[in-house]
């Protein structure tokens, strides 16, 4: 089926490792794991998703005729849980989650309709310290997966909203400006703005949106151009967040992007995106969404992000040094009298944390060697009797040893 794919053992292992690393980092920051269903009622999802996102849902009716959908993200289900089953739990609350999400649109995820996300939400905390925590966590999560080169762009949705308030335009032109920006169509934007005779610093800022990137210096440059409270406040918050991220030890990877264009109806404050090397799309994204929880009846500020595991996987496997896949440590073969020894040895090796596969049929030595090659294990242990095994490993002579000694040698302790 187009847009869906199987993850074969090597791919699945890299993806799973990346997911575990990210969840592990989130747990170290005090985020608790929640699991929400693959399916949600469309009534719930529609409280949080915009019209475009709703259109992309896989919808169907269940046996009772209720319209349900496969989740396309998990921030909304988490909001439902926080305002529902967890409504008496104190805020702020730190939650994380992982799992596949689905979209009917093949274009959105580069021809993929099922993708894997890990996300974290910090609910009930407003202010720049919470914003900086979530951005720092996102950065450390990317590091935890093994990505060595990445950068985080931080912006603020209120900077744009303030400009739109201040800019003197008829309502229909304003709607056009929003539409053009959402479509990232700066040619249309320029045309819309050139049709009006009113010129202002805000016009110039809108036209320069794709170029409003940089470090702390850009705050000063932009501050000189905006004359409205909302945008000025956004700039001062960005300054504070930048400072805090420096203290988090992330000064080198963070840039400011005042022209960040995101879903303006959803985000209410600091927003950010993480980029890896040589990939055309953000690998992590998030921001503040203080309006969502109220729609579920528990008004609360909130901020969070998702890491796109598929993209992490792509970058890791394309890196100059792809991640090393753990190998099978031992293939344990047996001949007629060796089965019990083989099963016991397998258990022992696993107890030491090694990966060991025990054969399902008796083999002579030559057959055992062929089987060893086929399963691709590092060592072959061929069990003959309760006291005798043959141990083979690449680049060394085969050794005849009792099983306890083999186990000891493989585990790296002196026999």
């Amino acid at each position: 089926m187009p847009g869906f794919r199987d993850l074969l053992p090597n791919e699945a292992e890299v993806l799973r490792e990346a997911q575990e690393s990210v969840l592990g980092e989130m747990r170290r920051w005090g985020y608790r794991h929640v699991i929400t269903p693959m399916v949600e009622s469309t009534e719930v999802l529609e409280l949080g998703l915009g019209p475009e996102q709703r259109r992309r849902l896989f919808k169907f009716t269940d046996a009772r005729g209720e319209v349900v959908a496969l989740v396309s993200e998990r921030t909304v289900p988490v909001a439902r849980v926080v305002a529902g089953k967890l409504r008496s739990a104190p805020l702020p609350m730190r939650l994380c989650y992982a799992g596949p999400v689905l979209s009917t649109d093949e274009g959105r995820f580069q021809q993929r309709r099922e993708t894997y996300q890990v996300g974290a939400e910090l609910v009930g905390a407003s202010g720049v310290v919470a914003d900086a925590e979530v951005i720092a966590l996102a950065a450390r999560c990317l590091e935890a997966t093994g990505l060595r080169r990445y950068q985080v762009d931080v912006g603020h949705s209120e900077f744009f909203q303030g400009i739109m308030d201040a800019v003197k335009l008829p309502a229909d032109v304003k709607a056009g400006v929003r539409g053009a920006l959402a479509a990232r169509d700066f040619v249309a934007l320029e045309e819309l703005l050139s049709r009006t005779t009113l010129r202002s610093a805000e016009h110039e800022l809108l036209l320069r949106f794709p170029a409003l990137r940089g470090g702390a210096e850009i705050l000063k440059a932009a501050g000189g151009l905006v004359r409205n409270h909302r945008s000025e406040r956004a700039l001062s918050e960005l300054g504070r967040v930048l400072e805090l991220l420096g203290t988090h030890g992330l000064g080198d990877v963070v840039s400011l992007d005042l022209g960040a264009i995101r879903d303006f109806d959803y985000y209410t404050g600091i927003i950010f995106e993480g980029y890896g090397p040589d990939l055309g799309r953000p690998v992590a994204q998030g921001g503040r969404y203080d309006g969502l929880l109220a729609r579920f009846g528990r008004p609360a500020p909130a901020t969070g992000f998702v890491v796109q595991l598929d993209l992490v996987w792509e970058m890791l496997t394309r890196a100059a040094r792809p991640p090393e896949l753990p190998r099978l440590d031992a293939a344990v073969a047996w001949d007629a009298a060796g089965l019990a020894t083989a099963l016991r040895l397998g258990s022992t090796l696993r107890l030491f944390g090694m990966r060991a596969v025990v054969d399902t049929q008796p083999r002579n030595h030559k057959e055992a060697v062929d089987w060893w090659r086929a399963v691709g294990a590092v060592n072959l242990v061929h069990c003959h009797t309760s006291t005798s095994t043959s141990w083979s490993a690449p680049g060394r002579r085969m050794l005849k040893l009792p099983p306890e000694q083999v186990a000891g040698r493989l585990a790296g302790s002196p026999a």
Partner: protein, 227 residues
């Protein structure tokens, strides 16, 4: 740094000469259509230029295989994506029109039948334009020689791109409505703008300046490119 070379995807066909001219005027690279047509990928110190089919330019840019692309607005109508549309490069002017047989009674919207049948290579743009104008339409998607369709009675009219109107006249078609005007656009990959800001923005600035300066007479149009 290896990645400081900015890659630009150009479209084959009618826009190619204009695109090469503007790259040269902007002092980015001087390339001949023949060289690019033969190699499809040409590296210069500051840029890599690749040549792809017009409809493929957005795909190359959206996926980050090219940082920038030069492509007709007509292509962008049909395949909106995650790219930034940055500059109107002001060449390759053409219009997307509804054309009907010269003998047809159809003219303005008031003369259209309840269900209009049109053939086009631009199904998405056509459907959304007629929808916005409250007209029911049956779109027949064709891949070439669209002009033929109304002459053999397949459809009431066609929606197609025209620059001079010559092809329409030759096929005894006349323009009944204009759906939009198209020129060449400069599009950019969103991540390229962020992760390689300086190199990409400087190239965008040069191309914008070249597009805004009035085209010089042909004989004089040979600035000594620095690259």
């Amino acid at each position: 740094m290896k990645k400081e070379r900015v890659s630009v995807a150009l479209a084959t066909g009618a826009l190619l000469p204009g695109a090469l001219k503007i790259l040269s005027r902007a002092g980015v690279a001087r390339l001949s259509g023949a060289e690019l047509g033969r190699q499809l990928l040409v590296d210069r110190p500051a840029v890599r230029v690749i040549l792809v089919r017009p409809a493929d330019v957005p795909a190359y840019v959206d996926h980050g295989a090219a940082d920038l692309g030069i492509v007709g607005k007509d292509v962008l109508w049909e395949s909106p994506g995650a790219h930034y549309e940055l500059v109107d490069l002001r060449f390759g002017d053409c219009r997307l029109v509804l054309a009907v047989p010269a003998s047809s009674k159809l003219a303005g919207p008031e003369t259209w039948p309840p269900l209009l049948r049109v053939a086009t290579k631009y199904p998405r743009t056509t459907a959304s334009w007629f929808e916005a104008h409250g007209q029911s339409v049956e779109v027949v998607r064709l891949h070439g020689s669209v002009e033929l369709a109304p002459q053999v009675g397949l459809v009431d009219g066609i929606v197609d791109l025209t620059a001079s109107g010559r092809t329409l006249r030759e096929n005894k078609l006349r323009i009944a409505a204009i759906l939009g005007s198209s020129t060449a656009r400069l599009i950019a990959n969103q991540a390229s703008l962020k992760t390689r800001t300086a190199a990409v923005q400087s190239l965008v600035g040069r191309l914008r300046a070249a597009a805004e300066q009035p085209a010089r007479p042909r004989a004089a149009a040979s600035p000594a490119a620095k690259q």
